[in-house]
Structure formats: structure tokens, C-alpha cells
């Protein structure tokens, strides 16, 4: 495996993305959206709902090819891309472990996943079917699947939405633990400012539709120093820089 830290950044330059409704009406979701995430950096895409955050991720995942502009994904390592969707999107007819292993390339199917399952607290759930899991556990399984592939870039679409705050907070710490073990270029979509300040190295703030970058807020402080006092300082300086953003 190639050492993490080498290779190109994640570079996004979307000129325009338009949706056509059935009646011929058009909605411009994104216009002039361009930003960069450095290698091994955890970035958050922050913006009001409906500003095209999810659309951006879908474009980067290659699921939506109908747009003008370009993007460049980081290379190196497995050269793979991993996603954690808004819904866990586990195959209901396969067990947790099968779901994770199916995402791996064939030659790595039998790799040892004990540590990953352990660190996400899923060791006892490997033979469970997704319908037997709570939403929080299903989200953990989705995280396990993403990290198991050792991707070159990790895209997360509001992975903590519709969880109670306690569960979401525990999951955020779990995410940080697994991510720190192998820092991967990551881009997470969220509308939760506190979550973004806690997790990321860099916040990319989007405008409302059509979405474009209002500005970038870098958090240079290591995560272990982000205690409640520091967090409220970060919040204050963020609000000074972006007075309109919640």
C-alpha cells in the first residue's frame, strides 16, 4: 500500500448542474462550485438544505454524469472511492459481515476484519441481518464497509442524520477513531455546524441554491484539543467570518 499523504488532492470545479423537471421547468442546483481538499484532510461541506450538497457528492461518486465542469479524485493506495450514504444502504438479505466483505475487491475478500469490527463495536453483530440492527448500528456497519475498502477518498452524506444526539455523538467519536487510524482524504456533507467544527480540518461553506462556495474556514487545532471551551471560541470566530450562516 502506498503511504498516505502522497498523491493529488481532491479538486472540484463544477461549472453548472441543472435538473430538468418533467414539465420542462429547470432548477440550477450548482453554479461555479470549486474547492479543494488536501491529501489526508477531513473536510466538511456545510450549507443550508437544498443547496446541492448531496448533488455534489453524487457527481463525485460518478452517479450523476449530467453536469458541466470537472473534478479530480485523489490517487494512490487502493485508488478506490468509498461512500457512506444518508441511509445505511446495506443489502437486507446479507449479513453485516457479508455486506462489508462484498464491498472489497475479490483478492481481499478474506482479509482479517477483526480490528475494524472491534473498533466500531460490531464484533457481536457480524452474523446479524440489517433488519435486526438499530439505525445507529446499521450506520456503524455502513462506516465499517467504507473503511474496510481502504479507499483513496471517503465521501460521507450526513451519516449522523436522524439519530438521537447521544448516539450521533458516540458515532462521531467512533468515526474519528477509525479515521485517525488511517487518515484518508474525506469529504462529509452536513448542515450541523457544531459537528463540522468538531470533526473537520476544513469547512467549506456553501451558499443557498444555486450552490457555490461562500468561503473556507480552516480549523488548524488538533482534534483532541477541541474541548467545549475551544469549541465555543471556534463557533464565535466562525460566526464572525460567516455572519449569515447558522
Amino acid at each position: 500500500m502506498q503511504p498516505v499523504g502522497a498523491g493529488a488532492p481532491l479538486r472540484v470545479d463544477i461549472a453548472e448542474k441543472t435538473f430538468r423537471a418533467a414539465e420542462g421547468a429547470t432548477i440550477t442546483a450548482l453554479r461555479g462550485l470549486s474547492f479543494e481538499v488536501r491529501q489526508g484532510e477531513f473536510a466538511c461541506l456545510l450549507g443550508p438544505s437544498g443547496c446541492g450538497k448531496t448533488t455534489t457528492l453524487r457527481i463525485l461518486l460518478g452517479l450523476d454524469k449530467d453536469f458541466s465542469g470537472s473534478f479530480q479524485l485523489p490517487e494512490g493506495g487502493t485508488d478506490r472511492i468509498a461512500a457512506v450514504f444518508q441511509e445505511p444502504t446495506l443489502l437486507p438479505w446479507r449479513t453485516v459481515e457479508q455486506n462489508v466483505r462484498l464491498a472489497l475487491p475479490t483478492e481481499r475478500r478474506n482479509t482479517n476484519l477483526d480490528r475494524l469490527f472491534d473498533s466500531l463495536g460490531l464484533s457481536g453483530m457480524r452474523t446479524f441481518y440489517p433488519s435486526e440492527l438499530s439505525l445507529g448500528l446499521a450506520r456503524r456497519a455502513a462506516l465499517a464497509r467504507a473503511f474496510a475498502t481502504e479507499p483513496a477518498v471517503l465521501l460521507l452524506d450526513e451519516p449522523f442524520a436522524s439519530l438521537d444526539e447521544q448516539t450521533a455523538e458516540r458515532l462521531r467519536h467512533l468515526l474519528l477513531d477509525v479515521w485517525s487510524a488511517r487518515p484518508t482524504t474525506a469529504l462529509m456533507v452536513t448542515h450541523n455546524l457544531r459537528e463540522a467544527l468538531m470533526l473537520s480540518d476544513r469547512l467549506i461553506v456553501l451558499s443557498s441554491r444555486p450552490g457555490h462556495v461562500l468561503g473556507v474556514f480552516d480549523v488548524r487545532l488538533p482534534r483532541q484539543y477541541r474541548n467545549p471551551q475551544v469549541m465555543s471560541d471556534l463557533l464565535r470566530s466562525f460566526h464572525e467570518k460567516f455572519p449569515g450562516v447558522r
Binding site: L63, P92, F128, E132, R145
Partner: protein
């Protein structure tokens, strides 16, 4: 196997297991026994060569089995049913999934499907024999063509109901085509495949009899035609009941366990 499972369980679970496993079997047995009794009473009240009592049918069944006639013809028919079923399911599923996935193709080919759905089975059989000769391939092909449109319609519904989120997940994680088929597509289509199979087997074996009657020299259909000319109702009923019994056993011993296995993830909920 099932009774062994039950032995290991706690008394409460055992009673639950008996309720769910044995009760339907028992009620089916009682119901069939009632039908036999009614049949015996009716045959007693109106004695006729054209309406033999169950005891006579049973005797013919035993004789024909002992002589090896019935197992041979039953085997021939079963083989044709199996062949026609496999051909119809494979071709019908492939067409159905394609039509469900591509709306343009569906718009163009839908009239064809409706046309074939409405061609009487007899017409297809007669044409197959005229065009391709009185041979096994024509017989099995004719049965399959009769069934394919039904499979197409069912599988088309299934393909329309596919969840795009799973396909997107499979694309992001670079599933191989085989994995997509096995782990994403087939499990989603399973209920539709089961529905097509169920209605398929029932329809196919009825058409196979007609095919055998018209152009084959063995099989249950051929025998029934023979005994029809001899006016031997007891033999006709013996062959019919033997075949129905075999189909019932296939349903209970093969289809149902397979479906339970395929839907295991759905029944176990926390």
C-alpha cells in the same frame, strides 16, 4: 429434521413449533379425507362405470405402479415439465428484466407481449408441431412459449420495482457483474421469481398434457388419451391423482424449503 429441531427446544417453543409446522398439515389431511369421503358416498349413491369410487381408483393406481407403466409415463411428463419450466423461466426472466429496465424497449415490445399472452395454447402447440415436426424439441418449445409471456409480465414488474439505491451502492463499491447479479439483483427479484414459478408450474403441467395428447407416444397426457378411448375413468383419475400428488410433494419438499431459505433475512427481526 423438523421433529429433531423441535425436540431440542423448550416446551413453550415446542408447542409454538408444533402449532406452526403441524397444524397446516393436519388441516390439509382432514380436508382431503373429507373430500374422499364425499366422493365415496357420491359414487355409492350413483354407481356408474364413468364414476368409480376411490377404492377402485386406488387399486388401478397400485396395479399400474407395480407394472412400471405409471412411473415411466409420470417420469416422461415430469421431465418435459422440468425442461419447459427451465426454458420458460430463463428466457422469460431475461426478457422481462430487459423490458422492465428499458422503457423504450417496453413501449415497443409491449404489444408483442399482449399478443402472445392471448394466443391460445392449442394454437401454439399445433403450429409448433406443423413447423418443427412431431419431436421432443417442438413439444417442450411449445409449452415454454405458452408460459414465457406470463413470466415476462411478472418479471417486468419485478424489474420496475428494483431499488436504485442498491445499484448505486454496488456501482460505488465496484461490484463485479456476477456479484451484482447474485447479491443485488436476484434477491430483489426473488418474490417475483417465486410468483412466476408458482403459477408457472401449475400452468405448464396442464399444457404438457395437451402436448403429449397431440403429438407424443408417452407421458401422462398420452395415457389419459388412451384410457379416454377405452372409456376407463378409473385409470384416468389414477394418473391424474398420481401426478397431482407428485407436484404437491415437489411443492412441500423443494419449493417451500427453498423459499424459507431465500427469505430467512426477512423473518428474523430483533
Amino acid at each position: 429434521m423438523m421433529s429433531e429441531d423441535n425436540r431440542d427446544r423448550t416446551p413453550a417453543a415446542d408447542r409454538f413449533g408444533l402449532d406452526t409446522a403441524l397444524a397446516p398439515v393436519l388441516s390439509v389431511a382432514v380436508s382431503l379425507l373429507g373430500l374422499c369421503l364425499l366422493w365415496a358416498l357420491a359414487a355409492d349413491a350413483w354407481p356408474s362405470r364413468a364414476f368409480p369410487p376411490p377404492g377402485k381408483v386406488w387399486r388401478v393406481l397400485v396395479e399400474e405402479t407395480a407394472s412400471g407403466e405409471l412411473p415411466f409415463h409420470l417420469g416422461m411428463t415430469l421431465a418435459r415439465v422440468a425442461a419447459a419450466y427451465v426454458v420458460a423461466m430463463v428466457i422469460g426472466s431475461a426478457i422481462g428484466i430487459l423490458l422492465g429496465a428499458y422503457r423504450r424497449a417496453d413501449q415497443f415490445f409491449n404489444p408483442w407481449v399482449v399478443l402472445f399472452l392471448n394466443i391460445p395454447a392449442l394454437v401454439i402447440i399445433v403450429l409448433a408441431y406443423i413447423w418443427f415436426g412431431l419431436n421432443e424439441a417442438a413439444a417442450i418449445g411449445a409449452v415454454a412459449v405458452n408460459k414465457i409471456p406470463n413470466v415476462v409480465v411478472t418479471m417486468r414488474e419485478g424489474a420496475r420495482a428494483l431499488d436504485p439505491r442498491y445499484a448505486e451502492m454496488a456501482a460505488v463499491y465496484r461490484f463485479s457483474p456476477l456479484d451484482r447479479f447474485r447479491h443485488v439483483l436476484l434477491p430483489q427479484l426473488q418474490p417475483y421469481l417465486a410468483a412466476a414459478s408458482r403459477s408457472g408450474i401449475a400452468l405448464i403441467w396442464k399444457i404438457v398434457l395437451v402436448v403429449e395428447l397431440l403429438g407424443r407416444s408417452n407421458g401422462v397426457g398420452f395415457q389419459i388419451y388412451l384410457y379416454f378411448q377405452l372409456f376407463d375413468v378409473a385409470a384416468i383419475l389414477a394418473y391424474t391423482l398420481a401426478f397431482v400428488a407428485v407436484m404437491l410433494f415437489i411443492e412441500i419438499l423443494a419449493v417451500q424449503p427453498f423459499e424459507r431459505h431465500a427469505t430467512r433475512w426477512r423473518r428474523r427481526t430483533a
